[in-house]
Protein backbone atom coordinates (compact mmCIF):
# COMPACT_ATOMS: atom_id res chain seq x y z
CA UNK A 1 0.00 0.00 0.00
CA UNK A 2 2.81 2.35 0.86
CA UNK A 3 4.27 1.62 -2.53
CA UNK A 4 1.10 2.88 -4.14
CA UNK A 5 1.29 6.14 -2.26
CA UNK A 6 4.91 6.60 -3.16
CA UNK A 7 4.01 6.01 -6.74
CA UNK A 8 1.11 8.41 -6.53
CA UNK A 9 3.33 11.12 -5.11
CA UNK A 10 5.80 10.52 -7.90
CA UNK A 11 3.09 10.85 -10.54
CA UNK A 12 1.84 14.04 -8.95
CA UNK A 13 5.32 15.55 -8.96
CA UNK A 14 6.07 14.57 -12.52
CA UNK A 15 2.76 15.67 -13.94
CA UNK A 16 2.82 19.02 -12.21
CA UNK A 17 6.42 19.53 -13.25
CA UNK A 18 5.32 19.09 -16.84
CA UNK A 19 2.50 21.56 -16.44
CA UNK A 20 4.73 23.99 -14.62
CA UNK A 21 7.03 24.13 -17.60
CA UNK A 22 4.32 24.48 -20.21
CA UNK A 23 2.09 26.80 -18.19
CA UNK A 24 1.70 30.18 -19.79
CA UNK A 25 -0.49 31.81 -17.18
CA UNK A 26 0.51 32.66 -13.67
CA UNK A 27 -2.58 30.99 -12.24
CA UNK A 28 -1.80 27.66 -13.81
CA UNK A 29 1.77 27.92 -12.75
CA UNK A 30 0.70 28.61 -9.19
CA UNK A 31 -1.67 25.65 -9.18
CA UNK A 32 0.94 23.32 -10.60
CA UNK A 33 3.53 24.33 -8.09
CA UNK A 34 1.03 23.76 -5.31
CA UNK A 35 0.17 20.32 -6.60
CA UNK A 36 3.84 19.56 -6.88
CA UNK A 37 4.15 20.51 -3.25
CA UNK A 38 1.30 18.16 -2.35
CA UNK A 39 3.12 15.39 -4.13
CA UNK A 40 6.21 16.02 -2.03
CA UNK A 41 4.12 16.13 1.13
CA UNK A 42 2.52 12.85 0.16
CA UNK A 43 5.98 11.36 -0.16
CA UNK A 44 6.77 12.55 3.36
CA UNK A 45 3.54 11.27 4.86
CA UNK A 46 3.93 7.93 3.14
CA UNK A 47 7.40 7.71 4.63
CA UNK A 48 5.92 8.37 8.05
CA UNK A 49 3.77 5.31 7.63
CA UNK A 50 6.63 3.25 6.27
CA UNK A 51 7.88 2.19 9.66
CA UNK A 52 7.89 -0.85 11.86
CA UNK A 53 6.31 1.06 14.72
CA UNK A 54 2.65 0.89 15.52
CA UNK A 55 2.02 4.60 15.19
CA UNK A 56 3.27 6.53 12.22
CA UNK A 57 6.44 8.54 12.65
CA UNK A 58 5.40 11.99 13.92
CA UNK A 59 8.43 13.82 12.56
CA UNK A 60 7.38 13.83 8.89
CA UNK A 61 3.96 14.97 9.98
CA UNK A 62 5.44 17.95 11.72
CA UNK A 63 7.62 18.66 8.72
CA UNK A 64 4.67 18.50 6.38
CA UNK A 65 2.71 20.86 8.62
CA UNK A 66 5.57 23.29 8.36
CA UNK A 67 5.76 22.74 4.63
CA UNK A 68 2.06 23.43 4.13
CA UNK A 69 2.20 26.65 6.08
CA UNK A 70 5.23 27.78 4.12
CA UNK A 71 3.56 26.89 0.84
CA UNK A 72 0.42 28.80 1.77
CA UNK A 73 2.52 31.84 2.67
CA UNK A 74 4.26 31.78 -0.67
CA UNK A 75 0.95 31.29 -2.44
CA UNK A 76 -0.57 34.23 -0.62
CA UNK A 77 2.15 36.57 -1.71
CA UNK A 78 2.11 35.20 -5.25
CA UNK A 79 -1.61 35.80 -5.45
CA UNK A 80 -1.17 39.36 -4.31
CA UNK A 81 1.49 40.02 -6.92
CA UNK A 82 -0.48 38.40 -9.72
CA UNK A 83 -3.60 40.34 -8.81
CA UNK A 84 -1.59 43.52 -8.96
CA UNK A 85 -0.26 42.69 -12.40
CA UNK A 86 -3.72 41.75 -13.63
CA UNK A 87 -5.12 45.02 -12.43
CA UNK A 88 -2.36 46.92 -14.19
CA UNK A 89 -3.14 45.13 -17.40
CA UNK A 90 -6.71 46.22 -17.35
Amino acid sequence: MIGFYYFLSLILVVVSLYYFIVARSYVKRLISVNILGSGVFLFFVATAKNTTMENPDPVPHALVLTGIVVAVSATAIAVALILYLNKEER
Binding site: F7, I31, D57, V64, V72
Partner: protein
Protein backbone atom coordinates in the same frame (compact mmCIF):
# COMPACT_ATOMS: atom_id res chain seq x y z
CA UNK B 1 -9.27 -0.61 -2.26
CA UNK B 2 -10.38 2.67 -0.77
CA UNK B 3 -6.83 3.84 -1.11
CA UNK B 4 -6.78 3.12 -4.80
CA UNK B 5 -10.09 4.83 -5.34
CA UNK B 6 -8.94 7.89 -3.44
CA UNK B 7 -5.67 7.90 -5.26
CA UNK B 8 -7.26 7.72 -8.67
CA UNK B 9 -9.67 10.49 -7.73
CA UNK B 10 -6.86 12.63 -6.41
CA UNK B 11 -4.85 12.14 -9.52
CA UNK B 12 -7.72 12.86 -11.85
CA UNK B 13 -8.69 15.99 -9.99
CA UNK B 14 -5.10 17.14 -10.19
CA UNK B 15 -4.99 16.41 -13.89
CA UNK B 16 -8.21 18.25 -14.57
CA UNK B 17 -7.09 21.17 -12.52
CA UNK B 18 -3.79 21.32 -14.33
CA UNK B 19 -4.99 20.66 -17.81
CA UNK B 20 -8.25 22.56 -17.98
CA UNK B 21 -8.21 25.66 -20.15
CA UNK B 22 -10.93 27.18 -18.03
CA UNK B 23 -9.32 28.77 -15.02
CA UNK B 24 -12.50 28.55 -12.99
CA UNK B 25 -12.62 24.84 -13.52
CA UNK B 26 -8.99 24.60 -12.52
CA UNK B 27 -9.74 26.43 -9.31
CA UNK B 28 -12.69 24.22 -8.45
CA UNK B 29 -10.76 21.05 -9.08
CA UNK B 30 -7.88 22.39 -7.11
CA UNK B 31 -10.23 22.76 -4.16
CA UNK B 32 -11.40 19.20 -4.66
CA UNK B 33 -7.82 18.10 -4.91
CA UNK B 34 -7.05 19.70 -1.57
CA UNK B 35 -10.01 18.05 0.05
CA UNK B 36 -9.12 14.64 -1.36
CA UNK B 37 -5.55 14.94 -0.23
CA UNK B 38 -6.93 15.71 3.23
CA UNK B 39 -8.77 12.41 3.08
CA UNK B 40 -5.61 10.66 2.03
CA UNK B 41 -3.78 12.09 5.02
CA UNK B 42 -6.50 10.61 7.16
CA UNK B 43 -6.01 7.26 5.49
CA UNK B 44 -2.34 7.55 6.29
CA UNK B 45 -3.11 8.36 9.92
CA UNK B 46 -1.78 11.87 9.59
CA UNK B 47 -4.70 13.54 11.32
CA UNK B 48 -2.92 16.77 12.15
CA UNK B 49 -1.81 17.14 8.59
CA UNK B 50 -5.31 16.40 7.39
CA UNK B 51 -6.77 19.11 9.57
CA UNK B 52 -4.30 21.71 8.35
CA UNK B 53 -4.55 20.58 4.76
CA UNK B 54 -8.31 20.83 4.65
CA UNK B 55 -8.41 24.25 6.22
CA UNK B 56 -5.22 25.79 4.90
CA UNK B 57 -4.15 23.83 1.88
CA UNK B 58 -7.56 23.41 0.48
CA UNK B 59 -9.89 26.12 1.78
CA UNK B 60 -7.64 29.14 2.16
CA UNK B 61 -5.46 28.40 -0.86
CA UNK B 62 -8.60 27.63 -2.81
CA UNK B 63 -10.14 30.94 -1.84
CA UNK B 64 -6.99 32.75 -2.80
CA UNK B 65 -6.92 31.07 -6.16
CA UNK B 66 -10.58 31.85 -6.72
CA UNK B 67 -9.87 35.48 -6.15
CA UNK B 68 -7.17 35.24 -8.69
CA UNK B 69 -9.32 33.46 -11.22
CA UNK B 70 -11.90 36.19 -10.99
CA UNK B 71 -9.35 38.83 -11.82
CA UNK B 72 -7.51 36.99 -14.54
CA UNK B 73 -8.31 37.14 -18.19
CA UNK B 74 -9.42 33.81 -19.47
CA UNK B 75 -7.25 33.44 -22.42
CA UNK B 76 -5.11 30.47 -23.09
CA UNK B 77 -1.82 31.26 -24.73
CA UNK B 78 -0.53 28.85 -27.29
CA UNK B 79 2.24 26.62 -26.12
CA UNK B 80 4.70 25.66 -28.78
CA UNK B 81 5.17 22.03 -29.59
CA UNK B 82 8.81 22.41 -28.82
CA UNK B 83 8.15 23.54 -25.27
CA UNK B 84 5.76 20.65 -24.82
CA UNK B 85 8.34 18.26 -26.18
CA UNK B 86 11.11 19.26 -23.88
CA UNK B 87 8.83 19.61 -20.89
CA UNK B 88 7.66 16.12 -21.63
CA UNK B 89 11.18 14.88 -21.98
CA UNK B 90 12.29 16.46 -18.72
CA UNK B 91 9.31 15.05 -16.86
CA UNK B 92 9.73 11.64 -18.40
CA UNK B 93 13.38 11.51 -17.48
CA UNK B 94 12.56 12.61 -14.00
CA UNK B 95 9.87 9.98 -13.80
CA UNK B 96 12.23 7.21 -14.86
CA UNK B 97 14.85 8.45 -12.49
CA UNK B 98 12.48 8.37 -9.57
CA UNK B 99 11.18 5.01 -10.66
CA UNK B 100 14.65 3.63 -10.18
CA UNK B 101 14.86 5.34 -6.85
CA UNK B 102 11.63 4.14 -5.26
CA UNK B 103 12.75 0.53 -4.63
CA UNK B 104 15.68 1.73 -2.56
CA UNK B 105 13.39 2.89 0.25
CA UNK B 106 13.26 0.41 3.09
CA UNK B 107 10.86 0.03 5.92
CA UNK B 108 12.69 1.27 8.97
CA UNK B 109 12.34 3.19 12.20
CA UNK B 110 13.47 6.69 11.75
CA UNK B 111 13.37 9.36 14.39
CA UNK B 112 9.86 8.35 15.43
CA UNK B 113 10.89 5.99 18.19
CA UNK B 114 13.08 8.61 19.76
CA UNK B 115 10.19 11.03 19.77
CA UNK B 116 8.01 8.64 21.70
CA UNK B 117 10.82 7.88 24.13
CA UNK B 118 11.33 11.54 24.89
CA UNK B 119 7.70 12.56 24.78
CA UNK B 120 7.39 12.84 28.55
CA UNK B 121 10.17 15.38 28.63
CA UNK B 122 8.62 17.60 26.02
CA UNK B 123 5.80 19.18 27.97
CA UNK B 124 3.02 18.08 25.62
CA UNK B 125 1.45 14.69 25.09
CA UNK B 126 0.80 14.78 21.40
CA UNK B 127 3.78 13.50 19.46
CA UNK B 128 3.34 15.78 16.46
CA UNK B 129 3.07 18.83 18.65
CA UNK B 130 6.03 17.74 20.70
CA UNK B 131 8.09 17.69 17.53
CA UNK B 132 6.57 20.89 16.29
CA UNK B 133 6.91 22.93 19.42
CA UNK B 134 9.76 21.44 21.32
CA UNK B 135 12.04 19.01 19.52
CA UNK B 136 12.01 21.00 16.34
CA UNK B 137 10.69 24.20 17.83
CA UNK B 138 13.29 26.20 15.98
CA UNK B 139 11.78 25.12 12.66
CA UNK B 140 8.43 26.28 13.89
CA UNK B 141 9.83 29.62 14.94
CA UNK B 142 11.14 30.14 11.44
CA UNK B 143 7.90 28.83 10.00
CA UNK B 144 5.97 31.43 11.92
CA UNK B 145 8.58 33.82 10.60
CA UNK B 146 7.88 32.78 7.02
CA UNK B 147 4.17 33.29 7.27
CA UNK B 148 4.59 36.61 9.07
CA UNK B 149 7.09 37.65 6.46
CA UNK B 150 4.84 36.75 3.57
CA UNK B 151 1.80 38.55 4.86
CA UNK B 152 3.70 41.64 5.93
CA UNK B 153 5.33 41.50 2.54
CA UNK B 154 2.08 41.75 0.71
CA UNK B 155 0.96 44.50 3.03
CA UNK B 156 4.21 46.37 2.52
CA UNK B 157 3.94 46.33 -1.23
CA UNK B 158 0.59 48.11 -0.88
CA UNK B 159 -0.86 46.34 -3.83
CA UNK B 160 -4.31 47.87 -3.81
CA UNK B 161 -7.16 45.63 -4.76
CA UNK B 162 -10.92 45.76 -4.52
CA UNK B 163 -12.88 43.85 -1.94
CA UNK B 164 -14.90 40.87 -2.92
CA UNK B 165 -17.93 39.69 -1.01
CA UNK B 166 -21.34 38.12 -1.16
CA UNK B 167 -24.30 40.41 -0.65
CA UNK B 168 -26.71 38.27 1.24
CA UNK B 169 -28.44 39.53 4.40
CA UNK B 170 -29.07 36.02 5.64
CA UNK B 171 -25.42 35.19 5.34
CA UNK B 172 -24.49 38.34 7.20
CA UNK B 173 -26.50 37.55 10.27
CA UNK B 174 -25.44 33.94 10.10
CA UNK B 175 -21.80 34.89 10.02
CA UNK B 176 -22.28 37.13 13.03
CA UNK B 177 -23.80 34.27 14.93
CA UNK B 178 -21.19 31.82 13.79
CA UNK B 179 -18.10 33.80 14.65
CA UNK B 180 -18.10 33.35 18.44
CA UNK B 181 -18.52 29.61 18.01
CA UNK B 182 -15.63 29.44 15.63
CA UNK B 183 -13.46 31.41 18.02
CA UNK B 184 -14.17 28.97 20.83
CA UNK B 185 -13.93 25.92 18.67
CA UNK B 186 -10.58 26.99 17.28
CA UNK B 187 -9.32 27.72 20.78
CA UNK B 188 -10.44 24.26 21.76
CA UNK B 189 -8.55 22.72 18.86
CA UNK B 190 -5.50 24.66 19.86
CA UNK B 191 -5.84 23.41 23.38
CA UNK B 192 -6.36 19.86 22.13
CA UNK B 193 -2.94 20.07 20.58
CA UNK B 194 -1.26 19.62 23.91
CA UNK B 195 -2.41 16.03 24.19
CA UNK B 196 -4.10 14.95 20.99
CA UNK B 197 -4.85 15.88 17.40
CA UNK B 198 -4.97 19.62 17.03
CA UNK B 199 -2.70 22.53 17.66
CA UNK B 200 -1.97 26.15 17.08
CA UNK B 201 -1.78 26.14 13.30
CA UNK B 202 -4.87 24.04 13.01
CA UNK B 203 -6.80 26.24 15.38
CA UNK B 204 -5.45 29.40 13.85
CA UNK B 205 -6.34 28.26 10.37
CA UNK B 206 -9.82 27.43 11.50
CA UNK B 207 -10.28 30.84 13.04
CA UNK B 208 -8.91 32.41 9.91
CA UNK B 209 -11.49 30.48 7.92
CA UNK B 210 -14.19 31.87 10.17
CA UNK B 211 -12.86 35.38 9.81
CA UNK B 212 -12.69 35.02 6.04
CA UNK B 213 -16.25 33.85 6.01
CA UNK B 214 -17.13 36.83 8.13
CA UNK B 215 -15.43 39.13 5.69
CA UNK B 216 -17.04 37.48 2.72
CA UNK B 217 -20.38 38.26 4.27
CA UNK B 218 -19.46 41.95 4.06
CA UNK B 219 -18.77 42.31 7.74
CA UNK B 220 -15.82 44.07 9.22
CA UNK B 221 -14.17 43.25 12.49
CA UNK B 222 -14.62 45.80 15.25
CA UNK B 223 -10.88 45.96 15.76
CA UNK B 224 -8.43 48.75 15.24
CA UNK B 225 -5.85 48.31 12.54
CA UNK B 226 -3.01 48.58 14.99
CA UNK B 227 -4.53 45.84 17.09
CA UNK B 228 -4.77 43.54 14.09
CA UNK B 229 -1.17 44.32 13.32
CA UNK B 230 -0.25 43.48 16.87
CA UNK B 231 -2.09 40.18 16.68
CA UNK B 232 -0.30 39.39 13.47
CA UNK B 233 3.11 39.99 14.97
CA UNK B 234 2.37 38.24 18.25
CA UNK B 235 3.39 34.76 17.17
CA UNK B 236 6.82 35.62 15.92
CA UNK B 237 7.44 38.23 18.57
CA UNK B 238 6.46 36.10 21.50
CA UNK B 239 8.18 33.00 20.20
CA UNK B 240 11.48 34.73 19.58
CA UNK B 241 11.26 36.58 22.87
CA UNK B 242 10.78 33.26 24.66
CA UNK B 243 13.81 31.92 22.85
CA UNK B 244 15.85 34.93 23.86
CA UNK B 245 14.52 34.86 27.39
CA UNK B 246 15.69 31.32 28.03
CA UNK B 247 18.97 32.07 26.32
CA UNK B 248 19.51 35.04 28.64
CA UNK B 249 18.61 32.94 31.65
CA UNK B 250 21.33 30.53 30.63
CA UNK B 251 19.18 27.57 29.64
CA UNK B 252 19.98 28.09 26.01
CA UNK B 253 18.08 29.34 23.03
CA UNK B 254 14.55 27.87 22.94
CA UNK B 255 15.49 25.47 25.69
CA UNK B 256 12.67 25.14 28.20
CA UNK B 257 13.26 23.78 31.64
CA UNK B 258 11.09 20.74 32.23
CA UNK B 259 8.96 22.38 34.89
CA UNK B 260 8.04 25.35 32.81
CA UNK B 261 7.78 23.67 29.46
CA UNK B 262 4.04 22.93 29.45
CA UNK B 263 3.20 26.46 30.48
CA UNK B 264 5.58 27.99 27.98
CA UNK B 265 4.30 25.82 25.20
CA UNK B 266 0.70 26.71 25.93
CA UNK B 267 1.53 30.39 25.72
CA UNK B 268 3.44 29.86 22.53
CA UNK B 269 0.53 27.94 21.09
CA UNK B 270 -1.84 30.73 21.98
CA UNK B 271 0.36 33.33 20.36
CA UNK B 272 0.73 31.27 17.22
CA UNK B 273 -2.98 30.63 17.20
CA UNK B 274 -3.94 34.27 17.22
CA UNK B 275 -1.32 35.41 14.81
CA UNK B 276 -1.92 32.59 12.32
CA UNK B 277 -5.58 33.44 12.31
CA UNK B 278 -5.06 37.11 11.67
CA UNK B 279 -2.23 36.61 9.23
CA UNK B 280 -4.28 34.30 7.06
CA UNK B 281 -7.26 36.58 7.37
CA UNK B 282 -5.13 39.49 6.19
CA UNK B 283 -3.69 37.34 3.45
CA UNK B 284 -7.18 36.84 2.20
CA UNK B 285 -8.20 40.47 2.51
CA UNK B 286 -4.97 41.74 1.04
CA UNK B 287 -4.99 44.83 3.23
CA UNK B 288 -5.46 45.74 6.85
Amino acid sequence: MLDFALGIMLLSSALVSLHSKDLMKSGVFFLIFGFLSGLIWVRLEAFDVALVEIILGSAITGFLIFKLVKGSKRRALRVSAFTKAWAGLVSLLFFLFMLFYLPTIERQDRVGRLVYENLHKSGVESAVNAVLLNFRGYDTLLEVGVITLAIFGLLALELKREAYHWDNPLLQSFSKLLLPFIVFFSLYITYLGTFSVGGAFQGGALLAGGLVFFALAKQSLPLKKSLILLFMATGLGFFSLVGLFYALLGYGFLTYPLKLSTLTLIFIELSIWISTAFLLYTAYKGKL
